[in-house]
């Protein structure tokens, strides 16, 4: 079994809600509510879920780009949560992030060279000439040309910008890359380009990915293992082939059935969920999915199901499997 690069235990992130007569804190949004998982060296762990379920929050909390409310994060054996700010900054060489929005994640006032050079400058790597060379190399790696270096982000298409974002993350040769929906904003034909690029890079550079997406097919395609999130919790975590062939959690099942397939002949049994996702500010008690679950039982309404390993490498949080 491969070595575990990242171990997350009981991670929580609650955002305060202010309001009321005095403008004080009147509640919390439980964006991430007690999740645990680990990522092995060299693998891709996918995180999938509907909008607002806490995927991005998880990704950012891991890197302490937002301070987690509670939990433990071990990265490469280091207790990330207890690092001092300065050590944390140094730590970031090894853990990078790629954002969803290729428009927003590049500073519009900096040219590509500057954007890519910046990580090196910050960590005091190389001389100016060396850095420039590295930038040129990296541009080639992500499929751009070095003559693009002097251009500004608005002079690139969405796919190209996403490549720049990836290049920036790679500049420091990190061990882990958190990819927060890197392809959601892209057209289908461009999406496949970027996915292929990421796969190639992983192979060449031995990268580890935490790949966040809401598109089940994309996640399944790129990931070794997939975690399904619902309302701030991971409800199922298993290998991607298991997930497709044997989804256990009713939510996963519904999600799979809802994905439209571009094949008119595929007739799947549809599970159309009723209603909307409840607000994370006011999540239902017990199992948070019980309000929409087609197989809800009394217990689900009151008791939060444990996140358990039902089969080897197959974790589920559902009372249906709890007796086992």
């Amino acid at each position: 079994m491969a070595e575990e690069l990242l171990v997350v235990s009981n991670l929580k992130k609650y955002y305060p809600i202010t309001g009321g007569v005095l403008g004080g804190e009147v509640g919390v949004v439980k964006a991430v509510d007690d999740i645990s998982f680990s990522v092995k060296k060299g693998e891709t762990l996918g995180l999938v879920g509907e909008s607002g379920c806490g995927k991005s929050t998880t990704g950012r909390a891991l890197l302490r780009l937002i301070e987690p409310t509670a939990g433990e994060i071990r990265f490469d054996g280091v207790d990330v949560m207890n690092l001092k700010p300065d050590d944390m900054r140094k730590m970031r060489r090894d853990m990078q992030i790629v954002f969803q929005d290729p428009f927003a994640s590049l500073n519009p006032r900096h040219n590509v060279e500057r954007i890519l050079e910046e990580p090196l400058i910050v960590h005091g790597i190389g001389t100016s000439a060396e850095r420039k060379k590295k930038v040129a190399e990296m541009l080639e790696v992500v499929g751009l040309n070095s003559y693009h270096a002097r251009r500004y982000p608005h002079q690139f298409s969405g796919g190209q910008r996403q490549r720049i974002g990836i290049a920036r993350a790679l500049m420091l040769k990190p061990k882990l890359i958190v990819a927060d929906e890197p392809v959601s904003a892209l057209d289908v034909s461009i999406q496949s380009q970027v996915l292929n690029l990421m796969q190639d890079l992983q192979k060449d550079m031995g990268l580890t990915y935490l790949f966040i997406a809401h598109d089940l097919s994309v996640v399944r395609h790129i990931s070794n293992r997939v975690g399904v999130m619902y309302l701030g919790r991971i409800v199922e975590l298993t290998t991607s082939s298991q997930l497709y062939s044997n989804p256990l959690h009713p939510y996963t099942q519904a999600l799979m059935s809802a994905v439209p397939t571009p094949d008119p002949d595929v007739v799947r049994e549809r599970v159309i969920l009723e209603g909307d996702v409840p607000s994370p500010a006011n999540p239902p008690g017990g199992c948070t999915f019980h309000t929409r679950c087609p197989r809800v039982k009394d217990k689900c309404r009151t008791v939060r199901p444990e996140f358990q390993e039902i089969e080897k490498n197959h974790f589920v949080a559902c009372h249906l499997y709890n007796q086992a």
Partner: protein, 297 residues
């Protein structure tokens, strides 16, 4: 814009293709006729101000009492005032004062406002609370009243008027910068800068400040327009420039009792204020269109 195909149709690198955001804004601005008119007006007044000693046919502070309130004529294009001074010369020298006050008052408030705004927006917590409350309180006073009060404390003079105008405009810029910081802080590229391990101070100076420049410049330009009017208003109330300085507002106020007998002494300084202010407003409008990303698609 971006080319069609990266792999198969490599394009040659030419300078033409590197369009920095500022260049882009300048291009847009150049196409804006009204903004060009505004720039023309301001360039004109700036030149007038710089070349005042060469352009002014007479000294601005010495006249001949026997020649008081003469209508415009060949010798005195804009006529003479109550002291027999040449109105044209005074208007010309007045350009110096108005541009000086407008520009420096705004620079003052921009500098102080930006610093406070950055501190307040980036550090949050009590710093933010304190600074924001002070801004709230300052903004709770109608600005001209506050300016009058400040000048009353410091004593009427051009410098003090400038100071007062700078002070009353601090919250405008402070709030602007603060809100920019707050929104930029959430932007992904700032998050990205933190993700590569950048220090807060560097983020503030390299990412947040440059990206706040556009609105600061726009608001600043429009602010100069306002500051010129405010300075003239203080001058008009006798709280700004002091005699015999040819400040336009003061000239208006001093000459207004002769408005029927010598309307030119009131019309020309007033027109000058209006034109200068109009010029800055036109440029400000143009800059907003050129720099404001919302208008850019």
């Amino acid at each position: 814009m971006a080319e069609v195909n990266v792999q198969s149709v490599p394009l040659k690198q030419t300078d033409e293709q590197i369009i920095s955001p500022w260049r882009e804004a300048w291009r847009t601005l150049r196409k804006n006729k009204l903004a060009l008119v505004g720039m023309g007006i301001i360039v004109f007044f700036v030149l007038v101000a710089i070349l005042a000693p060469l352009l002014a046919p007479y000294p601005y502070d010495v006249g001949d009492l026997k020649m008081k309130n003469q209508p415009p004529s060949e010798e005195h294009w804009f006529g003479t005032d109550y002291n027999g001074r040449d109105v044209l010369s005074r208007v010309i020298y007045g350009a110096r004062i108005s541009l000086w006050v407008g520009t420096f008052a705004v620079i003052g408030s921009v500098v102080v406002g930006t610093i406070l705004g950055l501190l307040s927006g980036y550090y949050g917590r009590w710093v933010d609370t304190l600074i924001s409350r002070i801004f709230d309180i300052m903004l709770a006073f109608p600005s001209i009243l506050l300016a009058i009060a400040i000048v009353a404390i410091l004593g009427p003079s051009l410098q003090n008027a400038l100071l007062a105008i700078a002070v009353i405009n601090i919250p405008t810029f402070g709030r602007l910068v603060r809100s920019r910081v707050l929104s930029l802080k959430e932007e992904e590229f700032v998050m990205a800068a933190r993700a590569i391990g950048m220090k807060d101070s560097r983020i503030l100076l390299q990412h947040i400040l440059p990206n706040s420049m556009a609105p600061i410049i726009v608001t600043g330009t429009l602010g100069i327009a306002t500051a010129i009017i405010e300075a003239a208003a203080l001058g008009f109330l006798g709280l700004g420039a002091q005699a015999p300085e040819p400040e336009w507002g003061k000239m208006l106020s001093d000459s207004r009792q002769y408005i029927q007998k010598a309307p030119w002494t009131v019309i020309f300084p007033g027109l000058s204020i209006m034109l200068t202010v109009l010029g800055f407003n036109l440029i400000g409008d143009g800059l907003r269109d050129a720099l404001d990303p919302r208008m850019k698609n």
